[in-house]
């Protein structure tokens, strides 16, 4: 099954690196969508079918925590796996985000293998062809 994936980060560099890691890791990608911050991501989610979200914490306009709060308030986070990718992942903050429904946390810098592992885990992929 191909996944539609939304990358939420204000850095084009990070969005490009995650997209490249997903491809190198052999993740079955349908479409990749991009947003520069949480508010833009919410707009994409209203418009498109998204299977998986990778989001940063520190972003302008709407940061990752507020974005997760919005998804939790609407109940969307129960059905939409959200993975936080950040270098600002202190223990208490990660726990707060997981308590709100975030499925996984990837610390930067990461490898394609780490991205593959987290996709398999949160999407329930059990075998690769």
């Amino acid at each position: 099954m191909a996944f539609n994936i939304l990358l939420v980060d204000d850095s084009l560099t990070v969005r490009s690196v995650i997209a490249k890691a997903l491809r190198l890791a052999g993740v079955d990608i349908g479409q990749i969508y991009e947003a520069c911050h949480g508010a833009e991501a919410l707009t994409v989610l209203e418009r498109e079918w998204i299977d998986l979200v990778f989001a940063d914490i520190s972003m302008p306009v709407m940061d990752g925590e507020e974005f997760v709060d919005r998804l939790a308030a609407s109940g969307a986070i129960e059905h939409l796996p959200v993975v936080i990718v950040s270098s600002a992942g202190s223990g208490p903050r990660i726990q707060r985000l997981k308590d709100k429904g975030v499925r996984a946390y990837v610390q930067k810098p990461f490898t394609p293998e780490q991205i593959r592992e987290v996709v398999d885990k949160v999407m329930g992929v059990t075998n690769h062809e």
Binding site: S11, S16, S87, A88
Partner: protein, 154 residues
């Protein structure tokens, strides 16, 4: 900055930069850093929480394409806009900063990173940074680089 803290920061910085950029670095004394005549640029970001202050990475402008190309896995010639180069340097700082703070305050420390800024460093400021006890010198693939950590004294 104490010698122990400098060593811990240098070790964290080099480990993260090598993992992120696949470029190899080593610490060098500040008086061994040669200020090439070209412009130097810095990416600087504030942080607040368990520790408060700012961290900057300062490099000669000509090092930016190599850093960006290595992070993105592209050829330097494919990086056509200054925005791409600045964004990559800001991202390198962003990743380094998170790890530096955890080196200083521990993995359980709660902190927030503010948006990194990118700018050309005035020549007189560059000379001051080489004299600053909060600066550390490195080479990255044989090119000079400065790390500058300012902590608010609490």
């Amino acid at each position: 900055m104490s010698e122990d803290r400098q060593q811990a920061l240098a070790s964290t910085f080099l480990h993260i930069v090598e993992k992120l950029t696949f470029m190899f670095g080593e610490p060098v004394a500040l008086d061994e850093i040669e200020l090439s005549p070209e412009p130097w640029v810095e990416a600087r970001m504030q942080f607040e929480g368990a520790v408060n202050g700012s961290l900057a990475v300062i490099v000669p402008e000509s090092l930016q394409p190599e850093i960006a190309a290595n992070i993105l896995g592209l050829e330097a010639a494919d990086l056509t806009t200054p925005d791409m180069l600045a964004d990559a340097l800001r991202e390198m700082l962003n990743v380094v900063c998170g790890h530096v703070i955890m080196t200083l305050a521990g993995a359980e420390a709660d902190f927030k990173l503010l948006a990194p800024q990118h700018q050309v460093v005035p020549r007189e400021r560059l000379a001051d940074l080489l004299e600053d006890a909060d600066s550390m010198g490195f080479t990255l693939d044989d090119e000079p680089l400065l790390l500058h950590l300012e902590l608010e004294r609490g």
